[in-house]
Each structure stands twice: as C-alpha cells, then as structure tokens.
C-alpha cells in the first residue's frame, strides 16, 4: 500500500509537468492560471518557421548521429579489450577512463574545454567537431558499459576460443563472432547514446558557437518568450527523446 502510494506520487511528479507542457503547447493564452485558455496549433507553426529552431534541430541530429558512429568505432574494441586480454593494470586504467566522465560534474568538463580550446594553439571552441567530441566523451561510458555487460553475460570469450580452434584468425573472430553477437546490446546502447546526446544541455551550452547551437540550447531562449511557444518547443525535444528511448527498450528486450 505504502509502496503504491509512493510510486503514484512519484509518477505524478514525473508525468504532471510533461502533461502540462503538452497541454500548454496547444493553448492560446496561459497567464496566471492552472490551465491555458483556447486551443491552437499556431505555436508549432511558429516553431516550424523559426530558422534558429529548425537549424538547431538539424544540428542536434548531426551531433547525435556522429556521436553514435564514433562511439561504435571506439566502444566495441574498447569493451572487448576491457573484458578480454587486457592486463589487470590496463584494465583499471581503462575502467577509470570510462567512468570519469560519469563521475565528474559536466560543468567542470565544460570549463576545462573553455580553457583549453580557447587558446591560440587550439582555437576550436564553438566548432561542431569539438561539440561532437564532447558528446562522445559524455556518452562513451554508457555504451561501453552496456557492451561489457553483454560480453560477460554471453561468455563470448568461450565462443571466441571455439572459433580459434576451428581456424579463425583474431580479426575473423572479432568481426565474425564478437560483433554479430553484440548487435542487440550495441543497438540499445546506441539509442541511449542518441537520447543522451539529443538531451544534453550543460556542456553544450558552454561550448557551442552561435551557428551550431543544439536544440536544448536554443530551447532555453524560448523560455524568455511566449509560454505556448516554449511548451511547443519542449514537446518536440520530448518527442525526439521518447522515440529514442522507446526504440532502446524494444531493442534491449529483443536481446
């Protein structure tokens, strides 16, 4: 009974703001009341016409997509070496490396980037590649962890040994046995990466340039304007994130 009450309160706490935003995005005016008045699609139209929002939307997709590609290339070998041959000492180092971005407050990382990449030697602050690199650093631990868990769970080392006795070379084992068997955890991990990247605000806000602002960064500006407009803009972000996490859940269920 108590647990139900707690879960219900928690759900309410989680769902209510989202529901209000959804309602607000279709409301005409919303001033000093619990609910808005009238209904309209004008806010979405306005959003569609706003160049800075559409551009930010595309930027977010590009950054998220690029993060996925780079993460795949980095994480599969990384997870493999973490589980597999890595010696105890290296294993600790790699573990630390992958967990640090989770443990260190993002804002610290952002200040660090500002200091380093605002120099004459590396004047890359505000560039898209730096933004992508930052997102990769932030999301890499999550994908790596998903892959490591799967590698251990499936005992892929045993399969690899079997393949080796059957004459498979190291690369044939990696691409023929390891990678195909990681497909589900890779997929679900990647959707998580995409969701994290699309929603990322703290770090992006510090290091983006004006021309390549991501969607959440631009969204912040919307809060200074009309409430309905801000709600509509938020709904779009929510939609993106939901699609990503739903796909992730489905993919991991399949695994």
């Amino acid at each position: 009974m108590f647990i139900r009450l707690v879960s219900f309160t928690y759900m309410l706490y989680l769902v209510l703001p989202i529901a209000l935003i959804l309602v607000g995005s279709f409301g005409e005016t919303w001033v000093n009341a619990l609910l808005p008045e009238g209904s309209t699609l004008a806010w979405y139209q306005e959003l569609w016409d706003d160049r800075s929002f559409t551009r930010a939307f595309v930027t977010s997709l590009i950054v998220g997509g690029a993060s996925c590609v780079i993460n795949t290339l980095l994480c599969v070998p990384l997870a493999y070496s973490l589980v597999h041959g890595a010696k105890q000492k290296n294993r600790f180092a790699t573990r630390l490396l992958t967990l640090l971005p989770v443990a260190v407050p993002t804002i610290t990382l952002g200040f660090g980037y500002i200091l380093v990449f605002n120099t004459d030697a590396m004047p890359w602050l505000g560039s898209t590649p730096l933004l992508i690199a930052a997102h990769v650093v932030l999301t890499l631990p999550y994908l790596t962890q998903a892959l490591v868990t799967d590698l251990r769970h499936q005992r892929l080392d045993r399969l690899e040994e079997a393949a080796a006795t059957l004459g498979a070379r190291p690369l044939e084992r990696f691409f023929g046995i390891i990678v195909p068997n990681l497909r589900y955890s890779l997929l679900s991990g990647l959707v998580m990466v995409a969701a994290l990247s699309i929603g990322e605000f703290q770090l992006s806000n510090l290091i983006v340039g004006f021309q390549n602002r991501t969607y959440p960064v631009v969204l912040l500006q919307a809060f200074y304007g009309a409430t309905g407009f801000a709600c509509a803009a938020t709904v779009i972000l929510l939609l993106l994130a939901t699609v990503a996490s739903l796909t992730s859940t489905l993919a991991s269920k399949k695994a």
Binding site: L159, A163, A168, R183
Partner: protein, 342 residues
Amino acid sequence: MSLSFEHVGFQYRGTSIGVHDINLSLDSGELVALIGPSGSGKTTLLRLTAGLITGHSGRIVLGGRDLSNMPVHERHIGMMFQHYALFPHLTVLENVAYGLKMAGVKPDERRKKSQEMLELVGLGQLAARRPAQLSGGQQQRVALARALAYSPQALLLDEPLSALDASIRGQLRDQIRQLQQQFGATTVLVTHDQEEALAMADRIALLDQGRVLQYGTPTELYENPKNETVARFVGLSTIVEARVCADNRVDTGYATLACDTAGRAIGSAVKLLVRPEHVEADPAEGSVNRIAGRVTLNRYLGSFNRYDFVPTGGSEPWLGEARVAPAAAIAVAPEHIRLLAD
C-alpha cells in the same frame, strides 16, 4: 597422427599451480583420458595443447610438428567444450561448416560436408535451426560434428559430458567414442568422471598436483595402481592398514590374512588394496581369509548390492559387492589382496 608431450611444464603467473614435467605419448587414433582431482592440471594440459594458453616449457609434438609456438588457429585441432560453445547467431549447419569456411572450402562443398556430418550424429533434420532451439545433448552433438567436420589432426574433449543429464551422458559417450574411432582421431579427453575415463579411453593418465602419477590402460590403472592415490581415484576400493606378521601373512588387528607380501620384512607396515567385486559374501566355515562381522550399510543397485562390512573388532568398513549381502562373514582370496607401494 601421434601426439607427444615432452617435458611440458607451465605455471600460472604468481602461483605454483600448473603442470610440471609432463611426458606422455599418444599413438595415432588413440583416445587418452586425463583424470585427476580439480587443480591437478588436466585442463591446463588440454588448453596448452589447443594453444588457448601459451608459454610452456618443453615440447608438444603433433605428427612431427612442434606446436609450441604456433597460434591456436594454425594448430588444426578440433575441440569440444563443456558448455558447447556453439555460435548462437549461426544456424546448426553454419556452425558445423565454420571450420571449413575458415579453411577456405567453397560454399557448396562445405554445405554438403557439414550436412553429412550432421547426419552422422543423427541431427540431419535440424540443420536450419539455431543452437538455442536444441537440447543440451543435441547441442553437444552439433559441437562434435563441428569439431570433426574440418578433419582436424587431433581432437580435444574438455569435459564434454559433464553439463548433461545422466541419461543422455551414456548415449553421447558411446557416440563420441564410435565417431572418434571411425575418424581415427587422436584424442585427449579431460574428465572428472573416472567411470567415463575407464569406459572410453584406450589409456588413462592420472594427474595430481600437475604431475602424471600413472599412465596406462584402464585395466592397468584399476588392477595395478602404482600407489594409494591412484587406487583411491580409479574405481572403488577398500584400503586397509596392516603389518606383516609372517612371510606372506599380514595382521590387520582383527584378523590375519594370507597374501603375497613380496618379501617385505616382518613387522613392516603395509597398505592392502581390495576391490569390492573380489569380496566374497558368506564364505564356507574355515575358508581362507575369512573375516567375521556385519553389514552396516547396504545399497541396493538392482543387479547387485554394494555394502559396507565392518569386521568384528575393527572399525573401518570393507566395501563389497554381491547379489546378496553377507549375513555374518566375508572372505578375500589371497591373490586379490594387493600390497600398495608407498
């Protein structure tokens, strides 16, 4: 193809665990079982042969080739694992064909060969299934087909039956042995089940603490164990402490028994080995080596009874087997009492 181990040694880093100065040779087509308690080094020796662990001293020679510095994938040795290790993302047929594919055999040919191998293990109709849709016994048969399909130069079996139900175990044991002989594959079997070793192997090597205690045919190990450890590990037995009291006579404390003392000094301590099938139930009054006492525990095993018999005045039971458990006495013929070397 003959396989030999010459002074093979290996230690896991930072430990004294491993194998030490192993010398064994297998004739072509022979099946040798490695048995021994856990930690005896049997699995280590098998994995060294496969190349799954490297860095041993001495030489492992297969058909005249020294395997020592050869990577796993070049050794061409088929292997069966305890947990099947079938590739879950491939069909049964693709699993069997994997070794042929790696060897560069053309698709048509390898499909044909693999299908033949599946027929041989009786799973021809399951070729299109995934491993996960098969029972444990079926999976292990696929693994057997996979290990043999690419005509390996030797076969390594790493406890292939220990994950299976008892009912399937016997069946698969016979099937493995039959195919192994049919293919003439020189085979090393690691098992912790001594009955499995006795039933399948041409020769058995008993390992303990990384060393070979005895290497011989199952009969040799059972009938002529070199020492107490071998006697205890292979087959069931009664081992009795006694003292030589006269020439060809020993005293157990509760009885004096006639047996071959092989010229040992009177008064010296000896250990007697008696196998249960040689213990005679309720011998005639006045028989040689008659021991009075009673059965303290009897196990009905269908075709016979296996019982613990505690002699009057003694405390350690004798293990015997008979159609009918004895009521009051047992006897062992002198030629069936063996003195163990220390």
